[in-house]
Symmetry: C4
Subunit: 200 residues, 4 copies
């Protein structure tokens, strides 16, 4: 039963990740009446592109981490399935704060609110991924043949980003654009170390 | 053939569940011109967040129940495939009443209409899931190695929520917000007992 | 290689069917300012619900037929993969004519145009599914162990609906609502015989 | 681990391709108030249909190429997974330039900007697919049993389209509609040779 359960959980999760990451593009548009100077209108959407890239990179990193976590799973229990649903709930919520960033990043006050809100959502997504893994390790749901060092490496990779998010959320109260670039840096940071992880 | 059939049915169902649950976020937005006080505008969307959480929890619970049902399936027959399509039809309809809740919950009369409509849709989704399981049991589509007690436990878990929905739909005619919170409680109730189920 | 190819083709097709069938709900909405009489506004959307049900039933029937076709496939060739892409192209186009029906069915002239356009799209989807199957049979892509009678039954099931669509498209030029109900009847007809098919 | 990794990568990629290709239809609509002459309004949307077909054919061709690449993959490494995420990032971005084409192709200046932007996005998608394959070959991630000639054929198929895109992007600065037709021709060109490839 455990194997099947993990199979359905992976298939459903892949579906939610794929839809959420693809819906991000719906937030990008040029205003009506941009035909007269479309080049300027397209270039003016830079906050949309930035928000798209940051959210895509973050969801991509969380998906990659999720694939690593489920790779080491021997089986799932009921709490893990619910933690996973909670993670998916936050991931599929991300298009909303992404759109707020796209719409308000250039506005002084609104940009700060949107950046904080966005940072909290990103923190929740990566925090729940880390919680999923820690729960699996704690409840011994991890495959017996997984080496202790592999488990420790994955634990180390999934945690420190959380502190960076807290710092960036604080920074966003003063410098929203810098904070969004910081979120991008964290996502890239998540994407990079998983590479050396996988080579071991 | 039966195995393949179940495989395609699961893959297609997972896809529909994943898309429906992820489309829910499209219903959340702040009005144009919210830049001046984005914090207030974001907080004012609480009915959207509540509707998002209730629908996400319900679709998640139905998906979890669906995964349990198909786990016990030995093979599908033609009626089961059509019942499943009917269930998916209701599940993928849910974003519409969810949006009605998000838009009208604070309005006195409209909130009652939206809550009733929403409750009927949730009742239809969970009722069809229970019907799917009862049909499978009745037609002996369940795997021979599934224990009678396991079958009985799943039957008991999938049924009583229906009566609660009827009660909550009645309550919604007077107290819409309380009814929506009741729908959330039912979804959580669905999510919780499946856990003890799966541990047996 | 053939097996893998079929696996990817099925997974991608299931994804497109699942997204297309779930996007149909986005066409349903009540006009702004419906709060004052939401019940009337919800009931007035009956063309949206009808269009949703007809499109859902048709895409569901095409998916069921597609699952039957790929079940009998031994392997895919390059032409089949392209025919399949063409079928998916039409299926994922369906939300557009569905929305036209939802918006204009009650309007005298526009309803006739929308119904004709919709019928042609439904005819193209079911016609391409029949073509996919006939091509597979003709090119001997069908599994050797599939009985001749099974192949003949599936051929007979996938074809006659096409003539009914032509009749209904003609009818739609005079009685749009009757034609849409006819489209629903054809989809139900597709859904029903597949059941006896599968029992053999 | 390699096998699992490839399985998740394929499932997630299929999901993103399927959602991106199906979201394209959301860009098609008739203006409000088209009921009086719906036939004319539907016919006037030809740039939308053209953009839909070109983007569908291109994403379909990239998906087909992606299925061929992963078919030959023995396992994935971390760089390949990130290259794949980058490819998916571009593919799921395509609905935005597709909508720009649909909205502005008939406008003289805006059409040129939109066509150039669209061509760059198509070039990026097909270029990243070619890069994915070349990286896999270079890093010896290809299955040992894949024949050298098969590898060479796939390399030759995935590359020359890039030069055509550069030519068409140049042409689009003067004749936008001709360039879009050229993009369609390139997509068809990608779709055709893969057929003879697969027959070997």
């Amino acid at each position: 039963m455990a194997t099947l359960r993990t199979g359905r959980m992976e298939a459903f999760s892949d579906g939610v990740f794929a839809v959420a990451i693809t819906l991000l593009v719906l937030e990008i548009s040029v205003p009506d009446g941009s035909e007269d100077d479309l080049l300027a209108a397209v270039l003016e959407q830079w906050p949309s592109y930035l928000a798209y890239v940051v959210s895509f990179a973050t969801v991509g990193a969380v998906w990659l981490g999720h694939a690593a976590v489920t790779h080491y799973l021997d089986h799932a229990d009921a709490v893990l399935l619910r933690l996973n649903l909670l993670l998916l709930c936050v991931v599929s919520f991300l298009p909303f704060p992404t759109r707020l960033i796209a719409e308000t990043l250039e506005h002084e006050d609104a940009g700060k609110v949107a950046t904080t809100f966005y940072g909290l959502a990103l923190l929740a997504a990566t925090g729940l991924l880390a919680a999923l893994w820690r729960y699996a390790v704690h409840e011994q749901l991890v495959r017996p043949d997984a080496g202790d060092d592999e488990v420790a490496v994955l634990s180390r990779k999934l945690t420190p980003g959380l502190a960076f998010y807290v710092v960036m959320i604080g920074l966003g109260l003063f410098l929203p654009v810098a904070a969004v670039l910081g979120y991008l840096a964290i996502a890239v940071f998540y994407l990079v170390p998983l590479r050396s992880l996988r080579r071991t």
